[in-house]
Each structure stands twice: as C-alpha cells, then as structure tokens.
Symmetry: C2
Subunit: 700 residues, 2 copies
C-alpha cells in the first residue's frame, strides 16, 4: 500500500457534534493509551539517554503503552472498586539512531528508563510519516527523474510521489530502504489513477537519499477522464437525489464514556488506541441478568496485521506485498471522521494521540466514533395466533453499539468496526473503499490484450491489478475466565439404526477438543463444523459447556506458493484460524518488525512449538480474507467491499439474554399490540373486510 | 413446520403510519397479483363449473395470477409508454373436490373458464388455513385423546393442537393426510415449549377425521418456567433500557409507489405477492446515468421453496421434513408488520390479499413494508492528504431501499428482505426468529444423557432438535437482456515465468462458461471462484463482459443420505447453485405439488435433461442454507439468525454508478469538508495543537 502525504492538517471541529476528549480528568485505566503529557515525558527521558548533539538524528518509530501483565490488570480490575492505585505505567518505544534500532522501556511512574537495547534481528520498525514525506519529495529534485518526466512530456510541478515498502525477496543483506512511485495530478485530485510507470526509485532511509534509479519503459499515462470524485467539481449527468435520513435519539446517547471505558446496554469494554493496530478493545464483559454480574468475554481484541499482496510479478510491481499495520501503522493513518457521513447524526467522537518522529504528541481529532446503530433490523420477534381469543405479537427492534475507526493507507480506506449486540454477539466488520491501486498500460480495449495483464482493464491505459487483503485479528477470548479450550463441533451424518421409522439418515454433532496448537490450525469451510471457545471449568445449570462461537464471514485463503517470499512473511494467513496459548510478547502476527521481515517471527513460527492449548488462557488468530479481482464499478472510487465475522454466545447464558424485559425508550415500546376477539367476531370482521374490499374494487 | 391457528384477526391500522392500499386506482400491471374483485370473479366462475349442490365441498387450495408469457410482458413493457392495453389477465387455481385435485385456468378479461383438468400425479396442493383449523380441533373431542391427556394429568381445556405435513417415506399409496401434535398452555403463551410427546394423530383431509391414533409413551411436559416473552407479563430482573432511536426523513419517503411498481434512486421494480412464495420482485431495472436509460437486471425473483428437515429419526419426529412454502404457503402465512418494531418509523406499508378456502378474498394488512435503510454504513469514501495545500475528504453515507415481509410458519418467523443499493447491488436477506421446535424428554441435566437425543438440552425436559433451513431462491436474471451465460471465474495460482523479478508466484483469473445444466450444478466454497452471469452479446466500451456476480453468504449443504426420502424430495438442495433455461412451468424447486411429493417434479429432475444454458434466457436457483444445532440462547425465543446473498454488478456499468454527483437531501450533504492550508501553516497549527495538549495534560 502506497503512502503519500503532507503532514495531517488539524481537523476543524464542528462544534455542535459531541466530542469527548480522551484527556478528560478521570482515573487512569492501566490500559489507557499514552496521554500527551506522557508522550512528552517519554520523549524527554529518552532524549536524555542519547548524546545531546544527536537529539536531531534520533527518531521515534513507535511509542506506545507497554501494557501491564494480564494478571496485574485482572487483579487491579477485581479490586478496582476498593483500591484506586493503578499499576505502574510504562511505555514501549522503538527508536532509530545511527543506523540502529533501539527497544526502550520507560517507567512513567518513576520517570526512569527501565531498559534500552539494540535490536539485532531482521526487519525494521514502522516508518514515520515524516521520513516518508521527505523521501517522497526526493525525486522531484533528482535530475534523472526530472529528465524521465520531461521525456514523458509531463510537467514536474504536477507530479506527486508516494512511498512503498519493499518487502523481502531472499536478499542476504538488506538496508532500510523504500521505493517511490509517482503519479500525475492532471485535472484530477484522483492521482492514484494516473501512475507514471516504468520508473524504479529506491531511497535509503538512513541517508534519506536516492540509492537506485531505473527508467525502463514508457507507457502513456492514463487520461483519467471523469475520475474526479468531489461532488463540488462534478458535472452532469447527475445521479438521483438520495434521502439522507438520520437516526435521532431524543434522549441522547444510550451509552456512557468514562475515560476510555464505554458502557452500553449490557456491555462494558475499554477502547484503546495504538499507532500500529488502531482500535484495541479490552476487557469486554457482558452483564448477566440472572447471575447479576458482569462476565468477561474478550480480554483483548485488535487488528494484528493487514497483509496485502498484489498479484503482478513484473519488475515494477512484484514487491507490492504490503503489511499495512506493521509497516505503515493502521492507527497512525487514522483519519478524522466526518460527522453525518462517516458516522450517523447520533454518533459521539473521540480523539487519539500519537508521537511524531521527534517524539512530540500529535492529536488526531475524531479518530473514533461511537454510535447506537438502528438499521431497521429485528432482534427477535414472534406472532402467535394459536391462543384462542388473543393474538400476540412481540417484536424487538435491533439496536447495537458500533465503535468505528477509518484508516486511510494511501489509496485505500479501511473502515474498522466493532459492533456489540444486546444478545451477546460481537461483530467485527471491515469495509474496503477508497481508490484502487492501478497500473498504467498501453491498452485501451480488451481485444488488444493477448497476454495476462494481471488484472482488469478499468479505463483507457488503466489496469486494476488483482490483489488480496488479509486482516488477521488478535482475539484473546476469556470466556467467563481465562482458562478456555477450542472445541470443534463437527456435524456428521449418521444412518438411522432405529427401525421404528422409515427415515434412513440424520445428522448429529460430534465434538473434538483441540489439545495442542496443531489441532487448532484450521482451514474453514471444508466440512460442516462449528468452532466454539468453551470454559471447560464451568457449565450451565443444565450442564452444557459455557462457550462463545466464532462464526466466520466469507472465507479466503492465500493463493501464493508457500515458498514464495511474500507468503513466507505472510505465513500467518495459511490457516483461517490459529490458536496459541497467551504470551504477552506474541502480539503481531507478522512479527514485531514487519518491514522487510523474513518470516522468522510470525504466528506460523510461534505455533511450531505446538504448545498445549487445552484449558489454558488461549488466543485466537482469525484472518478475514478478500481476493479482489477488480471490476469497472470499482473505478474511479470503490464502493465499499465488506467482510465480517462474529463472536456469538453458545450456551454462555442460560437463555436468550434479551428475552427478559428490556425497556425501549421512545416511541417503539415493547411492541405489544393485543386485542381480544372470539372466533365468530373474527369471522365477522373478516367478512366485513372482504365486503369493504369488493366495494373498493368495484369502485376502481 | 407446525401450524396452529385461529383464523387471522384483522390488523388494526394505526392511522398515522402511511399505508398504501394496493387497490388504489391505477392501470393494472400484467404482473399485479389478483385483486379482491378478481378473486370474487374467479370464485363465481369456478363455482359455476361444478354441480351447484357441491359448492360447499369445493375448496380453493391455491388462487394466484397465471402470469403472462415472458415475451408478452416484455413487449408490453417496451410499449407501455405508448399503449395502455394490458395483456389478458388470467388466474391459475387449484381446487379440491370429491377427493380430486383440479387445475383450472380462468380468463378474467372474458370472465370465462379456459381449462379445467384433474391432476393425476403424486403430491397434494397447499393446505388451506381453514382445513388445518378444523383438523387441529379434532383431537380435543376425540375420546382416546382426551383419555391420553387425563392419563398425563393435564387439563384438556389448556391443550392446543397443531398441524404437521407428513412428507413421504416410500409408501405406494398415500392418502391426503396430516399429523397433529398438541401443546400445553400452562401459564405461558409460549406453547411450543410445552409439547405433549408420545402421541401420534393422523387426520384424513378428505374426511376431516382422525384415521390413526397411538399413545406410545409418556414423558413429563416441560414446566416451561420463565418462557413467557410478552413484555407486559415479565417480572424482574429487568434488562437495561435500550435507546430506541428512530430514523426520520424530513422530506418524507424518497421512493414512489405506483400500484405495485416501486421507484427509488436509480431502481425500478415491481413488487408482487403470491400465497405460496410471498414477495415476488419482477422487472428490476437500474437507471444507467451514462446510457441515460433503465437496464434490466432481474426479470423475476422469489423464494421458490423452504425445506426444513429435522434430524430426529424417532417414530414421533422422523417425518418432520417440511416444505414450508409448498405445503403451508409462505405468502399465506404473512403476518401484519408492526410499525416501529418490525419496520422503522420511515417505513411505508402495503397490504395483500389471498383467497380463503371458499374462494373469498381476505386482506392481510401491512403485509409488506418498504423503507429507506440508513444503518450508518459508508457507501464509499476517501481521504486524500497528498495534494499540496488541500485535504480532501469525500464520504457518501449508505442509503438503501428495503422491501420486507415476515412469514410466521407456526413457531418460526421468517423475515424476508430484498435490499436495493445505489451501487447496483441487490441483497437478499433472510432472518430466522420466533420459537424453536422443541421435543419433550425426561432429562433435566446433560449428565443424565447417555445416547444421542438429536439436539441440545435447553431447559428441563426440553430438547432443541437439530435441523436445517434451506431457502431456495428463483432468480431469473436478465443481465441487460434475456440471453445470458453463467461464467465461472476461477482464481488460479501460477508460477512466475518472468525472471526479471524474484517473485515465485501470483494468481490470475481463468474463466469457464457453463454450456449445459450439468456445468452449472455448483457446490460453492470448494475452490476460489467468482460466479458471474454475463450477457455474451454486449460488452463495456472497454470490451469487458457485461455481468452481475452472485456472492453467496455462508454456505451450507444437505447432510442427509441422498437416497433418504426427505432428500429425494429435497434433491434441489444438493447443489448451492443450479442454472436452468427459462421454462414458464418450472417455478417451484420442490414441485408444483410439494405436500407428500415423491421428488419426481423437482429442479433436480428437470436439470437431468441437461439442456443448453449458454447465451440463453437462464434462471439461477440459489439455496441459502442453515444448519441449526440449537443453543440455550435460542430459548425461549430465538435471537434472529441471519443469512444473505448478493447480486452485484461486475462490469455491468462502465464505472461506479454512484461516483457521479448524487445529491443527498437533508443535513448530510455531499460530505465535502475542505480547507486550504500551506505546509507551514499546517506545521504551525500542529505545534499549536501539541502545546494545547501539554497544557491540558498538565492540568489533568
């Protein structure tokens, strides 16, 4: 995924939309992201630890919370009501200095540096926005590039360049570099649809200078007619008018936000922010009406990696196999959400902060929105007409709570949603929209194409290149406690041995508990099976295993050779689901240092230890995958392509948690309309109705 | 699926909700369902055709539109603007008289009977509500049954009985019968959770009398504590209060309804009603802004059959393998929708009519609702920060149009949605809710269970029996015209032969056109493949095939033996997708006469002819399947279990049809917020922001 940018402008807050500042005065939750003042403190402490002169060469590649151990958090939480003492706050920092990567831990309570060591392994940390901005500007003053642009009859002042991670393809030594591709902004702001092909520019990130340059061939740059997408600039024909209905909640939001803790309906959870992962949901617990207490479901859930390999093996495109979260930072690239369009009118917005390259905090306004979703769906209903003398209709409209962030990684916009339902379900959704990454080519009609062009002709000289998106989620489920097991509930066909009936077959459920990691490397969809995380130490009153099901969305698996370099680095996508025992250090499926990684620190490698996962604190790693072979409708902007998966209670509760009496505020009430009629009367009213009908009909 | 009922009471209209009468004075569309006056006319004509005395033994099992030939409709439509003459109106009627099934065609234009013949084949028509009501009451006055109830220490006055279709299990002769199961209504209206097991009652529908009776065993009837679901009757603990936000559209509905034709945004389609199928979407066309005309997508789409086999082979349950649409009538069982809960505040409601057993029309108020859905989703968006001096953010909130009907087949409520999007997508959704079909048993804890109980213990003495739901949709796609082909776009891995790059592999698309029916019997999910219906006679300007993709939802296939009787009758579920050439008579996947059918008239049989389907007018038959192994959360009412599939344009348009300028009414505008800043100024505002931050932080 390419990245071009000026530094982010400050979002102008529209005052009449609620915005909750995350730095309101509240007691710190130990999982709260670092505050601006903490960023400043971290920066000061770390700068002190380097020779003063070097302050200006020191770069902060990652600054985030060094989260306390799980046990510390859990015991803090269990005591929370009694004690107010929070566990020590620590920051984990990755810096670059003098061509080396440093891992630093800072203790914020004692304002001291806990540890600082040079990282010796393969791969590099997140790239900063600032170094990418500088790198992207280098070609514009680089004579050979200026020449290449003139040779193409283009105007250098209309060229904009973008940074691309280079991956790893078996090199023994690899410097910290990135590649630059440039685009033309000719009468459109949709620059991604005007790539300037044939040129390779490699920038060394230590020196911030161009170290390799080729100009191999010229293809016409797409004219990009009609690719403008700004409403203000568009000309007829105009589309129809759409009704922008807006959800209104007369009583204001039905949820409460206390610092980073959000409470709504029967749910309570903590919303964190990380520059790499973006939103982090922690300690999601649901209130059990019968047990009269909150029961934990998810200790921690977030997007661990986003792997996007393109399927074009040619010299200029082969390396495009991006790890968007690990190389560019899915949280770092969060964009301010726009009230009324990115989120509905009843949304509340939250800001977030990250550290710039120099360690200074930067605010991203409206990073998250939180809203009650009313899509016109039905949570449950029944009409009962069998009780003599009454008709019963009970309907509950669906209301859910959505937490949303949008990460714009260059051309692509990723909509990341977490949706909580009163029934106990958590839906994790992703929407892919924005602009396709297209390739310039000589073709203007498919009948000119004789060989594989690795994609679809979308416009003159414009190929939409085939690619995948693999979103790997970290899901540390704690189903009613830490010790859990993964159970496969296989649906199997049986012959009917019971000869009192002519039925020949039926299906039943045979369960299988995953004992070690290898039992839980699962390719989904091959046979009918339900995947349930149970707590083997607890049962329902009736004796069923207390559990939560993982319901996959549409299932996609990698199509590259296993020994192909991108697939070695992205080996964590080989299975749709992996399960590992909880290890604090195992956070990033693609490894801590994803940029130019060699696949030696991925989920696939950790899992080789084949550790025990039965009745243990386990972590699920689920990959939501998309194969994207573009079509013309994806151009010049992509209609949102969506995927989702669901965590749904399965014998977690003794009954439907929403079948008890829940009050609905406002007009919709409980949905009971009843009247008493005796059979005869009903017949009467019916015949009346049909008389009425005939009259009406005759009159028509 | 069982069915118990008093006849439907008339729904009391709440006046301030818009209700559009389908019998408003408008020119008839040839696909309009029969009007009340037409029902009356049909009845008169048909009654005349039988000996007068017999009028009272004559029953109308099905009365529906005998739709004109497709060519007649299409040529009428092409002329519609010029001529007002509609094709002749005909009704197709199935009656029962003197133990025989009659197929009758009536011409309404000439008020004459066109044809009347006795049906000699296997199987029986839809059961009428009235005969089921009478049958369900027979046990209550049947001495052996009264004895059985007393033996169980129950009170006959609290017993309610229900009718169940019997299926077919290899019998040579089969009378027209149904089975009766009874339930107890002890302190709950949730009678389905109190089955009275062990008793078999068979009723002959010709004689309407009990012809077989067994009482094999007694198990305690479930106490059904806490199974009441009416808000008005519920006791603490109470659930949290939910905010019932309601969508409001200040400008009123953005769609127009003219008779049965609905126009919204770029869509135009006809909404019909059939007692068997329920909603029928016809002539769905989408306006092409560039071509400045409507282009047809779907000629006709509806739910053709709903097969629900239970997985309990025991003597009392083995036969439960229901064809809900073909035996009971999914349209006949439509229930009045409740404003604000079944459909949001901005919904408009439509009525429908069916013929009673005596042929008289009956109105179902609020059969359909139509509403603009605003779920807070994003249709497309992009934030662009790479253009020096400006930040661009274009966001389009998603608005779609939903048509909804709910069919309550005894205990289950099926929510049937058709959703149309401005991007050209049609989503077909189904929601399963209501009450599970449970079995009484002796168990009160899983540790007492030693053998398979064919389901899950959900409460004391209550087993939720394993079962499936297979919804087979009829989809006569006309992608920009009738002549279409099904193309499989297989994603295949290729080695990289191009040695200018170190990349080893990539994937590409290899297409395959289905020539005959056998090429298009598809089990989905086995390999990565896209299914596209193309119009081989038309191409986009760029030369791509004009097409629409079928995107499946979660995929489920039958688990019964192929030679098991229910699977012989339900053989049309063997593949997730079938394609047939259009044949007017091939409408019902399970056959015209589904009740006690023998599988000799199913889609699976028609398809054996292996007809040509390339560049033909083709029909897709897609099955949306669910395996349902109940869990405690499904009790005492089921949270909605949803499934869906999508028809999405794939090179149907030359570009994203929504990327042009569409006006949004109301507050949300086009979603453009832009401001101009120069690099320096942005730096300034950023440093200001971080200063502000530190202050705020210090003060906290």
């Amino acid at each position: 995924m390419g990245l071009i940018l000026n530094l982010k402008p400050l979002f102008l807050l529209i005052s009449f939309f609620t915005t909750v500042s995350l730095i309101s005065c509240h007691q710190h939750h130990p999982l709260d992201p670092l505050t601006p003042s903490e960023f400043v403190l971290v920066r000061t402490i770390i700068q002190k630890s380097y020779p003063t002169a070097s302050k200006y060469n020191l770069t902060f590649q990652y600054v985030g919370l060094d989260e306390p151990d799980k046990q510390t958090i859990l015991s803090w939480q269990s005591k929370a009501k009694h004690s107010t003492k929070t566990p020590p706050r620590r920051a984990f920092v990755i810096t670059r200095f003098d061509k080396q990567t440093y891992e630093i831990i800072v203790d914020l309570s004692t304002s001291s540096l806990v540890s600082k060591k040079v990282y010796q392994g393969h791969g590099y940390p997140l790239m900063t926005l600032e170094e990418q901005v500088v790198a992207a500007q280098l070609p514009l003053t680089y004579p050979p590039f200026i020449q290449s642009i003139e040779k193409r009859g283009l105007n250098i002042s209309k060229v904009v360049c973008s940074t691309f991670s280079v991956g790893w393809f078996g090199e023994q030594r690899s410097e910290r570099v990135l590649k630059i591709l440039c685009f033309y902004t000719n009468e459109t702001v949709n620059l991604y649809v005007i790539p300037i092909e044939g040129i390779t520019v490699v920038v060394d990130l230590n020196e911030l200078k161009i170290v390799e340059y080729h100009d191999r061939f010229i293809v016409p740059v797409p004219k990009a007619e009609g690719t403008e997408y700004r409403l203000s600039k568009l000309k007829p024909p105009f589309g129809p008018r759409l009704n922008s209905v807006q959800a209104v909640s007369p009583d204001g939001p039905g949820f409460k936000i206390d610092g980073h803790t959000i409470r709504w309906a029967n749910w309570e959870f903590h919303l964190g922010y990380d520059p790499r992962a973006g939103p982090i949901i922690s300690l999601a617990s649901i209130y059990d009406l019968e047990k009269q207490k909150y029961r934990r479901v998810l200790y921690r859930g977030y997007l661990s990696e986003l792997f996007v390999p393109y399927s074009d093996p040619t010299e200029e495109w082969y390396y495009k196999t991006f790890f968007d979260c690990g190389e560019f930072g899915c949280g770092l690239l969060a964009v301010p959400l726009e009230p009324l369009t990115d989120c509905p009118a009843n949304a509340v917005f939250l800001d977030a902060y990250y550290a710039k390259q120099d360690g200074e905090p930067v605010k991203i306004s409206n990073t998250f929105c939180v809203f009650e979703k009313h899509a016109g769906e039905i949570l449950w209903r029944h009409t009962e007409i069998s009780i003599p003398g009454e008709t019963i209709r009970e309907v509950r409209p669906e209301v859910s709570l959505v937490v949303r962030m949008v990460s714009t990684v260059g051309n692509y916009d990723y909509i990341l949603d977490w949706e909580f339902k009163p029934t106990g379900s958590i839906k994790v959704k992703v929407g892919l929209t924005g602009i396709l990454e297209v390739k310039g080519d000589k073709f203007t009609h498919t009948n000119q194409i004789e060989e594989d062009v690795y994609g679809t002709l979308l416009a003159d000289n414009t190929i939409g290149v085939n690619h995948d998106h693999f979103l790997t989620y970290y899901l540390d489920l704690d189903v009613d406690g830490e010790a859990n097991s993964l159970v496969k509930r296989n649906l199997v066909t049986k012959p009917n041995s019971n000869h009192t009936s002519p039925r020949k077959s039926y299906w039943t459920v045979s369960t299988e508990t995953a004992k070690t990691e290898s039992d839980a490397r699962i390719k989904m969809g091959l046979k009918p099976s339900e995947l349930v995380v149970i707590n083997p130490n607890k049962k329902t009153k009736l004796g069923n295993d207390i559990g939560y099901r993982l319901l996959p969305g549409s299932i996609s698996s990698p199509l590259l050779f296993e020994d192909d370099y991108p697939q070695i680095r992205g080996a964590f996508t080989k299975y749709n689901l992996w399960v590992t025992p909880y290890y604090k250090s195992e956070k990033w499926a693609g490894g801590q240092y994803a940029d130019q990684s060699r696949g030696d620190d991925t989920l696939a490698v950790w899992s080789l230890r084949n550790r025990g996962i039965e009745n243990k604190d386990i972590v699920l790693w689920y990959t939501l995958g998309f194969h994207h072979s573009p079509c013309q409708e994806d151009f010049p902007v992509m209609p949102t392509l969506s995927g989702e998966f669901e965590l749904r209670p399965a014998n977690f509760f003794d009954r439907n948690p929403h079948s008890a009496a829940w009050q609905y505020s406002g007009v919709s009430g409980g949905g009971v309309i009843r009247w008493f009629t005796v059979y005869g009367v009903m017949m009467l009213s019916r015949s009346v109705s049909s008389t009425v009908i005939s009259v009406a009909a005759n009159s028509s």
